[in-house]
């Protein structure tokens, strides 16, 4: 069965790409066919985390119709079973895609013939980022224990829900109803997707219910990256509880990923951290994260240094 995960989180530098790459490597090591899709258009760098030079083809060749099927531009990495669909060659203008183009890309991504499709997103909350994040019904939010990162993650989460709701309402030709009501509220009063749902429900309980169900189909998980000893052990669980109460009740905690200086050093040296340092706390954290995610009982994956 094909599984798609988006990996986002709002704050730049929280480790989204590192988590995406690591997740991809570990799943590929289990024999799954995995494709990493770099959707940080205009600033993509996933290849660097994989110790790879800039790929020669990518999303750009699909957009300009050099190839007709998206999978043709997914290149095999140095890790067996792991493919990279890069967007390095997408020029900055492409970061502002036309809506029709965007839909075409989204559909093609959904249909990529792989066991796992992992979407690495850029920072911020622009519409492209939100729409790409929403390709997957299952999303992973990466944050770090800093107040600024947590703040941006909350903002990103709410934006994701509101975007989903807005697009669905537009599709159902109901957006104008909400728009009037939102305009009536004071600025910034729309605090959570539940506010919008209750506006809808007040108008029409039946419809409110439908859209509530729609949002409930999304399944989100939180990852606390760059975790250090001095941070409260249960911060991640606390955050998830807060998300479930103040954003939307669809969050689970996937685990803490320990901070390790060598992550940075590996990138500089074009090494792959989890291959070079397989017995670190960070790697065992990543492995237990995967177990939590896939829910399968997997034997501990041995990642050997390949020369």
């Amino acid at each position: 069965m094909r599984r798609i995960y988006s990996i986002g989180g709002g704050k730049g530098g929280s480790g989204k790409s590192f988590i995406a790459a690591s997740l991809g490597i570990l799943l590929a090591k289990q024999g799954k066919r995995v494709v990493l899709v770099d959707l940080d258009l205009g600033a993509s760098n996933l290849h660097t985390l994989l110790g790879q030079k800039m790929p020669e083809k990518g999303l750009d060749e699909y957009i300009d119709k050099t190839v007709s099927r998206l999978e043709e531009v997914a290149v095999l990495t140095t890790i067996p079973n792991l493919y990279l669909l890069s967007s390095t060659r997408c020029s900055l203008e492409i970061a502002n895609l036309f809506y029709a183009q965007k839909l075409k890309i989204i559909n093609a991504i959904k249909n990529l013939p792989f066991d796992y499709i992992l979407l690495d997103l850029g920072p911020g909350t622009n519409f492209n980022t939100l729409d790409f994040f929403l390709i997957a019904p299952e999303g992973l939010f990466v944050t770090t224990p800093e107040p600024t990162a947590i703040e941006n993650t909350f903002i990103f989460m709410k934006s994701v829900y509101l975007r989903k709701l807005k697009l669905s309402l537009k599709e159902a030709n109901m957006w104008h109803i909400c728009q009037e009501e939102i305009a009536k509220l004071s600025r910034g009063a729309l605090k959570s997707p539940l506010d919008l749902i209750s506006i809808l429900t007040a108008r029409d309980p039946e419809k409110g219910r439908i859209f509530e169900d729609l949002l409930s189909n999304l399944e989100f998980r939180l990852i606390l990256n760059k975790f250090r000893g001095q941070v409260k052990e249960n911060l991640g669980e606390q955050l998830v509880e807060v998300c479930n109460r103040h954003v939307y009740p669809s969050f689970d905690f996937l685990g803490n990923i320990s901070y390790d200086n060598r992550v940075y050093e590996s990138i500089i040296a074009r090494d792959i951290f989890i291959k070079k340092y397989p017995y670190t706390k960070t790697v065992s954290d990543l492995q237990s994260m995967i177990r939590n995610l896939t829910g399968e009982e997997q034997e501990v994956v041995q990642v050997r240094v390949q020369r």
């Binding site: 224990p145 249960n234 911060l235 606390q238 009740p249």
Partner: protein
């Protein structure tokens, strides 16, 4: 319909069952306070000062109401009469009423059982039993129950030692997923349970969590 935070009743706010024991209420209060208190990283950026004040005072009200038997009863009655909660939810309350029976000799009894457990667990048979169980990767409620029974300990004694409600204890021993408390409490309850039986809490928690989906 999913309730908004401001519409949660005190039980939902503290995330405790309607028949929660005073121990559970205290635990839940400590837990939620840590999330919403002034400098909590988890909610640092989420609320302006006034919003936080409102939340904290509601938490305070919830705690002070539920911890006080009289206030709690009238709050409960109010919930039922407003149709918020069906009185069915409170049927388990018989259990709560039964608590005073155990409480009369509370400290003496729990000390007694504690010393008794201590003696028992040192006997070879019981020690072996516990060791075999702890070696297992997964620990089920049935394992815990077997150990408890082999030590000759009643469920009520665990309740006295831990103040975890007998309903919750029973759910733990039956691996009754539906009635288990939220994971965050479950972990703390399992710890207390293990401590009461004087076996390694960490192993019990890890083993039990692995056993539930």
């Amino acid at each position: 319909m999913i309730k908004k935070f401001k519409d949660l009743n005190y039980y939902e706010l503290l995330r405790i069952p309607y028949n929660a024991s005073s121990f559970e209420i205290r635990q839940a209060y400590k837990h939620i306070l840590a999330i919403y208190e002034e400098n909590s990283l988890a909610t640092y950026s989420l609320f302006v000062e006034d919003e936080r004040k409102v939340i904290l005072s509601k938490i305070e009200d919830a705690f002070l109401t539920l911890i006080d038997d009289k206030k709690r009863e009238s709050y409960d009655n109010n919930l039922v009469s407003m149709g918020e909660v069906s009185d069915k939810m409170f049927t388990d309350k018989e259990q709560k009423k039964a608590i005073p029976i155990f409480q009369t000799n509370e400290s003496r009894t729990s000390n007694n059982s504690l010393t008794r457990i201590k003696k028992k667990i040192q006997e070879k048979e019981a020690a072996d039993f516990a060791a075999t169980m702890l070696k297992r990767d997964q620990i089920t409620g049935k394992d815990l129950k077997n150990l408890r029974e082999s030590l000759g300990i009643e469920l009520e004694e665990i309740f006295q030692a831990t103040k975890i409600s007998p309903t919750t204890l029973a759910a733990i021993e039956k691996d009754d997923m539906v009635n288990l408390p939220p994971k965050i409490y479950l972990i703390s309850f399992l710890k207390s349970y293990a401590e009461a039986l004087q076996i390694d809490p960490k192993q019990v928690v890890d083993g039990y969590i692995k056993n539930i989906p």
